[in-house]
Amino acid sequence: MSTDSGYDVGKGDSVHPGKPVTVDRYTGGARINHWITATSLVLLALSGLSLFHPRLFFLSALFGGGQWVRTIHPWIGVVLFFSFLGLFLRFWKLNLWKREDGTWLARVRDVLAAHDERLPEVGKYNAGQKLVFWSMSTLIIVLIGSGIVIWNQYFAAYTTIEQQRWALLVHSIAAILAISVWITHVYAAIWVKGTIRAMVRGSVTGGWAWRYHRKWLRELVARPPTKEPTADRKRTAAE
């Protein structure tokens, strides 16, 4: 079909006709990668918030106290960075901006009102998801960069205190934004029913794909069929 099909279809995506139709959206590897990232992010948020505001210091108890938070937080950050790097490498192409994304974004009122029928057909990711992706990518780079500057135990000697002060400010602002983006991301997954199974079982229903990512579905359908059953499907079926 279209020459840009590679942009809209991820590795391992495939359609399984039936009643209902199921569509493989995420491979096992992608889902593990996502959940590592997600867990890291949550732990980082919790530990980071415990140091961000005194009212939240109680959260440090989840990690065994402030000393543990101080020790663990940066290491989780390193895990997050590399884990997210994995996601980035997997998905960056699919998140490149398209003409229809602009239209989609312009009709954000319809998006929020769930008038999906009034929206243009989008590929694997809609503009909102792409914004999440790119803002997270940017914020994580900022966070890891500023985080290293304020990682006192190993890196204190390499920067001036003034630089470290800036890093602290930048780190906390970036973290607030990242958490806000994360809230949006999680909310979207909760609001749009049938989304979470994509990251749990790896597949969505055909209707979900039709409703939210029709262009992606069309491209998948237009592709030659994949072998049946995939390993993913077998496991999903066993569940």
Binding site: H53, Q153, S180, W191, G207, A209, A222
Partner: protein, 313 residues
């Protein structure tokens, strides 16, 4: 001679200040005591200092610290910087006075200034790791310290140091354990020339006036007291022969204050950040309440079946 502090007693005594006298406590709110204790201060008269390092020696002995044996790097500062085991340090500057062409060997005892508005305490995220007593002493409580190093960034004087052994922050305590039993700090007791004296802040300011007058009589027209208002004044003050140029004393900050970056981080960012995150969460919640879930309809499924059916047929 300024009256020296009397010899300590070995009889157990109740400490003269404690928890009840807390004026500030890091990452916590405390109710300041109704009546503030008399403010204490240490006055360091740089013009009387002979750089003998007795203060460093007494500090090590009293606080049972073990600074590392370093090597000579062509300077007199040893250790070369403040460390978690060296709470005070003589810093030496060879300064040629352009007005007189005379060499002046400026020797400043560096260490915690015990600011009235302590940047370390402001920056500290760990409840109760840094406390300020109403007598002005800013002290670190190691049980509560998490070793994050925020105090280092908060301090306008670059004083706290993080131990690589127990990962907590260290600095001069003003010998709070000695002051609590009516003694002076170990450095002040040891100082051979009384370049360091200790007493109430008022006493120290008065003593400083006399010293400044003496220095002016000897031709140091810019002699003065260093009690920087930018941090609300300090409980360690200097008499300087060139008070107009504190920076020549190994970089003593001219008009120090808590960095605006730290103020922004600990001020507006802290509240705005919580607000932004809160708004995001609440918006989602309200949106859900108002709009309900966004569900896939039967028609959608059928459409999908049609689409795939079309292809598979």
């Amino acid at each position: 001679m300024f009256p020296p502090v009397l010899n300590p007693t070995t009889v157990p005594q109740e400490p003269k200040f404690g928890e009840r006298d807390l004026m500030r406590r890091s990452a916590s709110t405390v109710t300041p005591p109704a009546q503030r204790q008399t403010e204490v201060a240490k006055l360091i008269d740089v013009s009387k200092c002979i750089g003998c390092k007795a203060c460093q020696s007494a500090c090590i002995e009293w606080n049972d610290t073990h600074p590392q044996l370093e090597s000579n790097t062509g300077i007199y500062e040893n250790p070369h910087d403040l460390t978690p085991d060296m709470f005070t340090l003589m810093r030496f500057t060879e300064w040629e006075n352009p007005d007189t062409n005379n060499l002046e060997w400026l020797i400043r005892k560096d260490g915690c200034m015990h600011c009235e508005d302590p940047g370390c305490l402001k920056a500290c995220p760990a409840p109760g790791a840094i406390v300020q007593y109403s007598n002005g002493i800013v002290d670190f409580v190691h049980e509560n310290c998490i070793g994050c190093g925020y105090c280092v960034k908060g301090c306008p004087f670059n004083i706290p140091r993080i131990s690589e052994v127990d990962h907590t922050a260290y600095k001069c305590t003003l010998c709070s354990d000695r002051i609590a039993v009516g003694q002076g700090p170990a450095c002040a007791k040891a100082c051979p020339t009384q370049a360091i004296v200790f007493g109430t802040k008022e006493e120290m300011k008065k003593h400083a006036e006399g010293r400044v007058a003496d220095l002016k009589s000897r031709g140091f027209d810019s002699a003065g007291l260093y009690d920087p208002p930018g941090v609300g004044g300090t409980h360690v003050m200097y008499v300087l022969h060139h008070a107009d140029k504190p920076e020549i004393y190994a970089g003593l900050p001219n008009n120090p204050a808590i960095s605006p970056i730290v103020e922004a981080w600990k001020g507006v960012t802290k509240y705005a950040g919580l607000a932004v995150m809160g708004v995001a969460a609440v918006t989602g919640f309200l949106h859900y309440m108002v709009n309900g879930p966004n569900r896939v309809s039967e028609e959608d499924e059928e459409a999908a079946q049609r689409l795939t059916g079309d292809r598979s047929s």
